[in-house]
């Protein structure tokens, strides 16, 4: 484990758990995050897990850099004892193609497969949420099987609709709000990815798994209505241990 505690000014440190984007490294980030969440250190105000590091914001009047560094080193030394979290998979309905996924056919053509086979490749695996960033609720997710071979579109779009699901290589992100985007859009979810009126506004959290469930346009409309009425219940299951 090649860990570096990097100074980010007088009120934050970035604990870099590795130097690659991988499930293994991100799980180390999660472990430190969970440990500090379960037994908090006085002075830490918030933590931001990213791909390979954990940003720790703190109050120097409560704990100085040198004391925080010592405390983090202590936690890192005891990493093996940290109890792992349960791996939850959230099922996210997605309506592929048509107006919801204008690039579905192009994407299938890039992969030299039918749109049906493309949907199977996209929806047939579980995705891991490495982190949230860029916009509220914006999830960076990846699967570990059958990566696509295409990257971004040549010309990025100035605005794509919120609730779009975009793809490249093995990555598939949930777009919470309208934004500029250079990725290909394959579908949309009827679920709110970020809803500030809810106690927990965010559909997906870092460290959670996601499975896309293809739905028809009719089902999309029905789910959307249930979401509006507040009667929709998100389906989840526990990830099988490998």
């Amino acid at each position: 484990m090649d860990v570096k505690i990097l100074i980010s000014g007088d009120s934050a440190v970035s604990v870099q758990m590795g130097s690659e984007i991988s499930l293994e490294v991100n799980q180390l980030v999660r472990m430190l995050f969970l440990d500090l969440k379960r037994s908090p250190v006085e002075g830490i105000t918030e933590m931001v897990p990213t791909y390979a590091s954990l940003m720790i914001h703190y109050r120097p009047e409560k704990i100085t850099y040198s004391h925080l560094k010592e405390e983090i080193e202590k936690r890192l030394a005891g990493m093996e004892q940290i109890e792992e979290e349960r791996h939850i998979v959230k099922e996210i309905p997605i309506c592929y193609g048509g107006e919801f996924g204008p690039d579905l056919e192009d994407c299938a053509a890039y992969e030299h497969v039918s749109t049906q086979e493309f949907i199977r490749m996209h929806a047939g695996h579980e995705y891991y949420t490495y982190m949230l960033g860029f916009a509220p609720g914006h999830a960076y997710m990846a699967r570990f099987e059958e990566p696509f071979h295409f990257k971004r579109r040549e010309a990025p779009r100035v605005r794509i609709p919120g609730q779009s699901i975009v793809v490249q290589l093995n990555l598939s992100n949930l777009i919470p709000f309208d934004q500029p985007c250079g990725w290909n859009i394959v579908g949309a979810t009827p679920l709110a990815i970020c809803d500030y009126t809810k106690e927990d506004p965010f559909l997906v959290h870092a460290g959670e798994w996601v499975r896309y469930v293809p739905v028809s346009q009719r089902e999309y409309g029905k789910i959307k209505e249930d979401v509006r009425k507040g009667t929709y219940r998100l389906k989840t299951y526990e990830k099988a241990v490998e």
Partner: protein, 318 residues
């Protein structure tokens, strides 16, 4: 019912200390650009230091008071007037129902003003905060800057505060044209050669027009060179992080910063120096001085102790 906005000014928003705890979900903290002027305005008005105030950028609003209250104005001098008569800044002042508080443009010293109301502003909490984050339409008054006709209530308006005559400070003088910012190196200072680091601290840069609540973009005569391409695996961003994208032109991340980013960060401007950067305008020259983490934290704690002492001396509105 509090205040009615007759003229909103260029960019006036509600800001409390910031929305903390949600950066892990991609939510920027927002909050005041100049924390020092923000804290002083609240302390003078007898508030909790973190209470929501109006942040006024480049020019201030015209507000009609529909209810009496006590106010305090700090930060940039925008020539505030009460019913046409100049009203002192850095001083608690009583305002009656029917009064009109108006501001002009920020003239010389500073670009952002802070207007605190005793007892605070009555805007809904979004994720625990009153701060406006315009990029995502969050917080404050409908997630946007103030508009003509907006009405904002007071939570607990006051007619008097303890130690009223003592609620008075020397106005802050902000640097003009040139400022020096102290920086703690890292987290990615090792993405630059020693030579290039020296150049960063030696030559300084100019603040460009592309500077706002999210970040201040700087222009250097000679762009900085990274050892690699300047891209890193996306990690966390702090208030004052100095990002250096592959074009070698630094961006200092400010109140509406994104929580994470994928550019190398050569250093971080220390907390006590960020207020003077927040009060700067495009065209100013910025110089960087490197200091260690111990001194940076010592300065941070000393600023805090001064604020604590002032607060204790004046007391709160209760």
């Amino acid at each position: 019912m509090g205040i009615k906005v007759e003229n909103p000014g260029i960019l006036t928003t509600v800001q409390d200390e910031g929305r903390f705890g949600y950066q892990q979900f991609g939510v920027s903290p927002a909050g005041p650009m100049d924390t020092q002027s923000f804290y002083l305005a609240n302390i003078l008005a007898g508030n909790k230091r973190s209470e929501g105030v109006l942040e006024m950028t480049f020019s201030g609003p015209t507000l009609k008071f529909e209810e009496e209250n006590i106010i305090a104005i700090t930060g940039a001098d925008m020539s505030p007037c009460l019913n046409g008569e100049p009203v002192p800044m850095y001083q608690a002042a009583a305002v009656r129902a029917g009064d009109t508080l108006s501001f002009g443009m920020a003239g010389g010293s500073g670009s952002r003003g802070y207007l605190a109301f005793a007892g605070g502003l009555d805007v809904p909490l979004v994720m625990g905060s009153k701060s406006t984050l315009m990029r995502n339409g969050l917080g404050g008054v409908h997630g946007r800057k103030l508009q003509k006709g907006d009405v904002i209530g007071f939570v607990k308006p006051r007619t008097e505060l303890p130690n009223m005559s003592a609620r008075k400070l020397e106005p802050e003088i902000f640097p003009e044209k040139e400022l020096t910012l102290r920086v703690v190196a890292g987290p990615q200072d090792t993405d630059f050669t020693e030579e290039e680091l020296r150049r960063f601290f030696w030559y300084g840069a100019q603040i460009t027009n592309e500077s706002d609540r999210m970040g201040f973009r700087l222009q250097r005569e000679e762009p900085l060179k990274h050892i690699g391409d300047g891209n890193i695996i996306t990690d966390g961003i702090a208030f004052g992080s100095v990002q250096v994208p592959s074009n070698g032109q630094p961006i200092i991340m400010m109140a509406d910063r994104q929580s994470t980013g994928g550019y190398s960060k050569i250093g971080t401007v220390i907390s006590v120096d960020l207020p003077k950067l927040a009060q700067s305008v495009p065209g100013y020259r910025v110089r960087f001085v490197r200091i260690g983490i111990e001194l940076a934290q010592d300065l941070y704690i000393r600023r805090l102790q001064k604020l604590d002492n002032l607060e204790r001396h004046l007391g709160q509105g209760g």
